[in-house]
């Protein structure tokens, strides 16, 4: 048997009443890419945080290169050659790439010396692993994909032999993801070990050598990737048959709900973010907006949800002109009352307050609703009951109303937001990246739920960078490029190639 870079024996971790890791025993072969998959809240991130020294296991042994170690801090983990690329990058935006990489690992008295030494080292790493990062670029001006590569460089610079990546592709475009995988393969070929957490089975099959499957804190499967199919993995993960194919009845579009025309948005620096956007959306219809992220989709959602004022243009909702609507309260509140609900793209920063309990997040945006008040106070009982319903109906785990939502795993946070917005029974639902970081079981559920809303006669506008998702859900697809609509086509006619061309701006 090949040598193990990392071996865990009987590792346990509790958070209060939550048993996040149960008796975990598994090994990662040296020089391989090892995938870890599992439902939201299965305990993947916790396990990695234990290896990285961020959490301490309650019991169990961790062996690094065959030697039992106690990893008390991330610092110790780095010393043992373990590096982690976090999902939220830990970079200083105004600094250059070089400065970011040296930060915290400066040797010597003056910065000059260490910077010069670092530069040569960096060039070599850059070349060896085909990272293509300009050491003098300002980090804040780089795209997400490049920033991620800076993070990888950072760990390599500190001498990492084992790289842990927690859902690295959740924030990447498909092209960027391909780039990342090319780099990861190169790393593996040069003898590094990579641990990759992801919810995308395609990626698992594509790049990993071994896969470990977790469910409810336990390991339920350890397989060689070559021996399994996508379906096998899905079933292992969820513990039942997953239907990855969405059955979609033909849409029966009703009345026009939303009509956008000539919509423009220019930011304070004079950059045009939205250019002459126009489209219609009917009741009982899902329109998908495809595009490489950063091509105006986010801004469009912001304008339509009232969070941002358009520079010019018309937005008609159920025949009412929203652009000139005068409201005393902020537009986001007024729109919500008119029947526009919004699932924001950036759920952790916009859609919820991490330090609030589940039940408090269950009313964010609806906190003024008569149904949750009693006079000038809240009707606590009604709120808790509502939250309970959300939890039951959307299978939020752990099923706790009084728990800070920041402690839930990403997928479960998303379920709470989804439940809240759907519960409002809106006529128009704006949806940004509904399944980012969400496990396949939950994706199945969320997709079904969105379909159901459509069939109930709601109008849905879906923004997603996942082409599969757009194609599976939408009735019509609009493609955006550079802030403008570069094409529109019925979902039945769309293929990945035709959309890809439009996304690139070819008409």
């Amino acid at each position: 048997m090949a040598e193990l870079a990392i071996e865990l024996i009987g590792v346990n971790k509790h958070f209060g009443e939550v048993h996040a890791n149960k008796n975990i025993t598994f090994g990662v072969r040296k020089g391989t890419v090892h995938g870890i998959i599992g439902e939201n809240g299965a305990g993947k991130s916790t396990l990695m945080s234990i290896i990285y020294g961020y959490y301490q296991a309650d019991s169990g042994t961790i062996k690094i290169n065959g030697k039992a170690e106690r990893i008390r801090s991330s610092h110790a983990a780095i010393g043992l050659g373990i590096g982690m690329v976090h999902q939220h990058f830990m970079l200083v935006d105004p600094f250059t790439v070089l400065e970011n990489i040296v930060l915290g690992a400066e040797g010597g008295v003056t910065l000059e010396g260490s910077l010069a030494a670092a530069r040569t080292h960096l060039q070599k790493l850059n070349q060896d692993y085909g990272l293509q990062v300009d050491p003098d670029a300002i980090v804040g001006e780089l795209g997400v994909g490049t920033q991620q590569r800076v993070e990888i460089l950072k760990t390599l610079y500190r001498g990492a032999d084992v790289l842990i990546l927690d859902e690295p592709t959740a924030v990447l475009t498909p092209q960027e993801a391909d780039d990342l995988f090319r780099i990861l393969r190169l790393l593996r070929d040069q003898g590094k070990t990579v641990i990759l957490i992801t919810h995308k089975l395609r990626e698992v099959l594509d790049i990993t050598d071994d896969v470990t499957v977790m469910r409810a804190g336990e390991i339920v499967g350890q397989v060689r990737t070559a021996d399994v199919t996508k379906e096998d993995l899905a079933d292992l993960m969820v513990g039942r048959k997953v239907n990855m194919h969405l059955d979609k009845a033909a849409a029966v579009p009703g009345k026009k709900v939303l009509s956008v025309s000539g919509l423009n948005l220019v930011d304070s620096r004079g950059v045009a973010l939205l250019k002459d956007i126009g489209f219609d959306l009917h009741a009982g219809e899902i329109v998908g907006i495809a595009g490489v992220s950063g091509n105006g989709q986010s801004e469009l959602l912001e304008v339509l949800s009232g969070m941002r004022e358009a520079t010019s243009g018309s937005v008609q909702f159920k025949g009412m002109e929203l652009a000139t609507l005068k409201t005393r309260e902020p537009k986001a509140a007024a729109y919500r009352k008119l029947g526009i609900a919004h699932i924001p793209e950036d759920r952790s920063r916009e859609g919820m307050v991490k330090d609030f309990m589940t039940f408090e997040n269950a009313i964010l945006g609806y906190h003024d609703d008569p149904s949750v008040r009693r006079g000038f106070l809240f009707n606590r009982k009604a709120i808790i009951e509502r939250c309970r319903r959300f939890i039951d109906e959307f299978d939020v785990r752990p099923a706790l109303t009084h728990r800070r939502i920041g402690l839930f795993s990403g997928g479960n946070q998303q379920k709470v937001i989804l439940a809240r917005e759907i519960h409002a029974n809106p006529d128009l639902l704006l949806i940004g990246q509904p399944t980012r970081g969400v496990d396949i079981g939950a994706i199945e559920f969320i997709h079904k739920r969105l379909m159901q809303l459509r069939d109930e006669g709601k109008a849905l506008l879906l923004v997603s960078v996942e082409l599969d998702e757009i194609m599976a859900l939408s009735d019509r697809i609009i493609v955006m490029n550079g802030g403008a609509i570069s094409g529109e086509l019925p979902a039945a006619e769309a293929t990945a190639t035709s959309l890809g061309l439009l996304m690139g701006g070819h008409k």
Binding site: S73, G306, E329, A332, A333, V353, G365
Partner: protein, 366 residues
């Protein structure tokens, strides 16, 4: 990255502040020993001065009353993510409102003039906080800077008014005339005398009950009302607040007004409860102590009540102590207060790491 805290809730709520408090008292003790006094004896004298006899208790609770108000003022702003350092100035200006009402209308019956004076305290205190609130919300001027500046402005303004405009005719001291009795908030010993309960003669007055009511109301509003929900949302995540359709600017301004009004109510306790006239510098640092009270009380009414009581006791016990021990001056007491602020505020997490490690070991051994 550091280790996340791993402690039972009760420990971080109760044990940590207590440990911090003891650390502060310990350092004060060292300094007292250094100037040649016996720290244990001093501590005894202080505790006795604060709680050992009826008058002492009365004075302690009188000081506590003001600290509750200024502590709540800081806490209110804090929940919206604002650090209101301006309690001192807001209280001072509220005092002006109270004074103007009393000088004009103290011939009216008590049930008219006292509510009127309270209203003035709320309006003047609130208005003095409104301006920094507005500048923060609309212009992005940092609230800490503006409220500090407003303290200075308040102080200069009041000096001018007291010296040139409001000073009692024929008097050399910068103070107003005494308000008529109608405007005095009834003392506790007066209130209880008809019931046959005899209380010592201290400035403790009905404002104390107002403070207790404010604590309860604060709890209800912050954690059980939409207004508080909106405030905390703004304080914790402004982006989410915008997403939720919360008018962030308005909330900031409104919360600052409430904060200033709360600080203003401390002026009622001082002016209508005790001095019955406006003196220069009557606020005497009460606004600043409010910062410590809120910090130590974790911005929660129960905590604020307890820490206001602590600072009240420290003030009263300290005064008694400085009578007994001339070597220990008022400044020594302020020094101790400062230490408590340092340990409970700035060094709040001093004991967190060892403590959570201790808890971990304990849990393991079970």
């Amino acid at each position: 990255m550091s280790q996340p805290a791993n402690m039972p809730r009760w420990a971080s709520l109760w044990l940590m502040p207590l440990l911090n408090l003891f650390a502060a008292l310990f350092v004060s003790g060292l300094v007292i020993a250094l100037i040649g006094e016996d720290p244990v004896e001093c501590l005894k004298l202080m505790i006795n001065g604060a709680f050992g006899y009826p008058e002492g208790i009365g004075y302690t609770l009188f000081y506590t009353t003001s600290f509750i108000f200024t502590g709540l003022a800081v806490a209110a702003a804090f929940h919206a993510g604002l650090f209101n350092i301006g309690g001192e100035g807001q209280m001072y200006l509220a005092g002006l409102g109270v004074t103007l009402v009393c000088l004009q209308f103290d011939y009216l019956p008590a049930y008219v003039v006292i509510p009127l004076a309270m209203l003035a305290a709320i309006l003047f205190g609130g208005a003095w906080a409104l301006v920094p609130g507005y500048l923060q919300a609309k212009r992005g001027s940092h609230i800490v800077v503006t409220t500090i500046m407003f303290n200075f402005i308040a102080s200069s303004l009041m000096t001018w008014l007291l010296v040139d405009k409001l000073r009692m005719e024929g008097s050399q001291t910068p103070a107003t005339r005494e308000f008529a009795q109608n405007a005095w908030v009834p003392m506790l010993h007066e209130l209880f005398a008809p019931l046959g309960v005899e209380l010592p003669n201290t400035p403790l007055n009905a404002s104390f009950f107002l403070a207790l009511m404010a604590l309860v109301l604060f709890y209800l509003v912050v954690w059980h009302s939409p207004k508080g929900f909106v405030t905390r949302t703004v304080g914790l995540n402004e982006k989410a607040a915008r997403y939720a359709g919360i008018p962030v600017d308005k909330v900031i301004i409104a919360v600052m007004c409430v904060s200033g009004a709360l600080a203003g109510l401390a002026a009622i306790n001082e002016l209508l409860g005790s001095t019955h006239r406006m003196n220069m510098g009557f606020t005497n640092g009460i606004g600043f102590v409010g910062i410590a009270v809120a910090l130590m009380g974790r911005n929660h009414p129960v905590g604020i009540l307890l820490s206001a009581l602590l600072f009240g006791a420290l003030t009263q016990g300290g005064l008694d102590l400085s009578f007994e021990k001339p070597a220990i001056t008022r400044e020594m007491i302020i020094f101790t207060q400062g230490l408590i602020i340092l340990f409970c505020g700035a060094l709040e997490n001093l004991f967190q790491t060892p403590l959570s490690a201790a808890f971990k070991r304990m849990l393991k051994n079970q």
